[in-house]
């Protein structure tokens, strides 16, 4: 996986050199027959991360991706959000709801492939994959044979901080700062286990893909210690809280940091030197999808250069598309947060799918971190028995009283 980031770095430096001729955006390609489903009343269910697509924000050049797709193809998009990979997994595993498109991250795609939860894609319906996706994003570890996924965006995790609330002498380029007691009650933390454990593992100097039980337990211990300093465990709530100046420090995704910094100039971004996670989010079709072909058309649509440019500019994430960088707003295309230098990239690692036993252990540890407050295991039975005793006691007392009064 390390290979990936190095290649990526070289690819990006090349594209950075050949930049920036911001031309007019291309129209929709005629790679597929967009009107195939027109008038058939087809609806697809798209399940995506929150704040992860361009929507109408009322400004002049705003672009509503789903609406544009509906207008072009006549397929109705029913769009809903999840907040984390684990939540997506639970929703799918639990059953009962059917989706046509999901956008999980790398390690979750690998896990879902393992558990036979994804449908193989028919790439003849997604010609844009072949022509428009950078070769570096093909044959990735999570989907080595390019069967199940089409990359949507990539990015990395770092620390977003409020310059008015963080002392200059404190080193934000280290995960240590998230354990600094000075910022007690001023730190926001990931509410999903994988990202939270990644930070603790890097803080302790382990691999973010460790399966060592002791290392995981140490990481969990570090997170439990950190809990005393954490103001809240959040995912998308972070936008509101960081732009509103509610907290000083929060680890989050690079693209979202760009969005938040645009809303609040006091915010800044740092990538810790201990290393961090590099992720790819890709579009997949889950098993049981009802409109597979329409879903593939949606994936192809998302790969259209024009659409991808609009999405990138709106959400601030980094693109895996060949032609997108030359059309991007130069400010974003040269933004080191979205497109970091090769040195930063070399210091990143990607998640891999962990064995089931490790995933289970992490889930358990995470639940116990969130519920931390050690009490003896016998408290619940004693508690319940106490309630029962009280209830019976009152009953007996009352009956005796009644009898006495009766006499």
């Amino acid at each position: 996986m390390k290979k990936f980031s190095l290649i990526l770095a070289s690819a990006l430096t090349v594209s950075a050199l050949t930049f920036p001729v911001s031309a007019d955006l291309p129209e929709y390609s005629d790679s597929v027959d967009w009107e195939k489903f027109k008038g058939q009343g087809v609806t697809i269910n798209v399940y995506n991360w929150g704040e992860y697509i361009s929507v109408d924000d009322g400004s002049e050049e705003s672009f509503d991706t789903n609406k544009a797709f509906e207008e072009l193809t006549g397929i109705k998009v029913n769009y809903t959000n999840f907040a984390s990979n684990e939540e997506l997994y639970a929703k799918l595993k639990n059953g009962g709801s059917s989706y046509d498109i999901i956008i999980p991250s790398d390690y979750m795609i690998a896990r879902m492939i393992n558990e036979d939860m994804l449908e193989k894609l028919d790439f003849s319906n997604i010609p844009n994959y072949e022509t428009l996706i950078m070769d570096d994003f093909k044959g990735m570890d999570y989907d080595p044979n390019n069967e199940y996924s089409v990359p949507y965006m990539w990015g990395m995790v770092g620390i977003i901080y409020n310059t008015t609330l963080v002392d200059e002498e404190d080193d934000v380029y280290s995960w240590d700062i998230l354990w600094n007691e000075k910022y007690a009650n001023n730190i926001l933390m990931f509410s999903n286990s994988r990202d939270a454990f990644m930070i603790a593992e890097k803080y302790l100097g382990y691999s973010m893909n460790t399966t060592d039980e002791q290392e995981l337990k140490n990481a969990a211990f570090a997170l439990t210690e950190q809990k005393l300093l954490v103001q809240a465990y959040v995912m998308d709530e972070i936008f509101d809280k960081m732009t509103g100046g509610e907290a000083a420090l929060a680890p989050y995704y690079a693209g979202d940091a760009i969005t938040m910094m645009a809303d609040n100039p006091d915010l800044a971004w740092a990538v810790p030197v201990e290393g961090t996670n590099l992720f790819v989010d890709a579009m997949c079709i889950p098993k049981g999808a009802k409109n597979k072909e329409a879903a593939e058309m949606y994936i192809n649509f998302m790969c259209e250069t024009m659409v991808a440019v609009k999405n990138c500019e709106y959400i601030g994430y980094s693109t895996p598309q060949k032609e997108v960088p030359q059309y991007l707003d130069p400010e974003l295309a040269t933004n080191p947060i979205a497109y970091p230098d090769s040195e930063t990239l070399a210091n990143t690692e990607a998640f891999i799918a962990l064995p089931n036993t490790t995933t289970k252990l992490i889930d358990e540890l995470w639940t116990s971190i969130l519920t931390a407050n050690e009490t003896a295991p016998w408290t619940i039975p004693v508690f319940l028995l106490g309630c029962l005793g009280l209830s019976v006691g009152i009953n007996v007392f009352r009956t005796m009283k009644k009898k006495r009064n009766g006499m």
């Binding site: 009962g96 709801s97 509103g244």
Partner: protein, 265 residues
């Protein structure tokens, strides 16, 4: 002195109850998207509300589900109440005890248990499951409102109607129904209210296409509640206020003469 203290106390409690609602309504007129900074007065959010498909669609879903669920619950519950009323004592208390469960139990457990059932039966979560779930927690309210009315009713009325030549259906239609009507109406209104307001049970039983308003609001609270929702809640507030005021006014008009009569006695 004591009176002033009383009034002050009542005022304080009402301030507590209404403070957040005023924040909501105030923000629906706030030009800025921020919740705490006031930049200027605007009606924009009200205009945008009527162009916001997601909110309008989930509002529509909520109303349809509430109407369907309340209607079915009322019919099912009224029939059930009449049946239960005529049962033997042991069966009756057993059935009533089970009926109490969805009311007494935590909504969370009810929601989870229904979700497990739907998933086990391979029913896709959607409108159907939402309606079933809503009926399940609404029927008990109908039963518990109709049963007391049946108990208050004079048992002989029905027999008298039969003696006077009614067939059982006529007797039911013209004697029993009018007697228990207030209970049925209350049950229906309670069902509608609980169905519109329900979040927890819907959260566990909704599907990808059948989001109700509380579910949509929930997914918004995880990022940022758009001011359009504030506008919607301001509208709901005014509508409910007007409805309650009218009901209150009618109620007073009807009860006044009665009070006078009582006084005269």
């Amino acid at each position: 002195m004591k009176k002033i203290a009383n009034k002050l106390y009542i005022a304080l409690v009402f301030i507590f109850l209404y403070a957040p609602i005023f924040v909501l309504i105030a923000n629906s007129f706030n030009e800025s998207k921020s919740r705490t900074v006031w930049t200027g007065f605007t009606f924009d959010w009200y205009v945008k509300l009527f162009n916001n498909e997601v909110i309008l669609k989930s509002l529509g879903n909520t109303l349809i589900i509430a109407a369907v669920a309340a209607t079915i619950s009322t019919i099912l519950g009224t029939a059930a109440a009449i049946g239960i009323y005529n049962m033997k004592k042991i069966t009756r208390s057993l059935v009533i005890n089970i009926t109490y469960i969805p009311i007494m139990n935590s909504e969370m457990v009810t929601g989870v248990s229904l979700m497990l059932l739907f998933v086990a039966l391979h029913i896709d979560l959607g409108y159907l499951t939402l309606i079933i779930a809503h009926i399940t927690f609404c029927v008990p309210y109908v039963i518990l409102n109709v049963l007391p009315k049946l108990r208050q009713m004079n048992r002989n009325l029905y027999d008298a109607a039969l003696d006077l030549g009614c067939n059982p259906w006529q007797a039911f239609r013209h004697v029993i129904i009018p007697e228990i009507m207030p209970g049925i109406v209350t049950g229906f209104l309670m069902s509608i209210t609980y169905s519109i307001d329900d979040f927890v049970i819907s959260y566990f039983t909704h599907g990808s296409t059948s989001q109700t308003l509380p579910i949509t609001i929930y997914s918004m609270t995880r990022r940022k509640v758009s001011p359009e929702v504030n506008a919607l809640s301001a509208i709901i507030f005014v509508v409910v206020l007007v409805v309650l005021l009218i009901m209150n006014f009618n109620d007073l008009r009807r009860t006044k003469p009665k009070k006078k009569k009582e006084a005269a006695r």
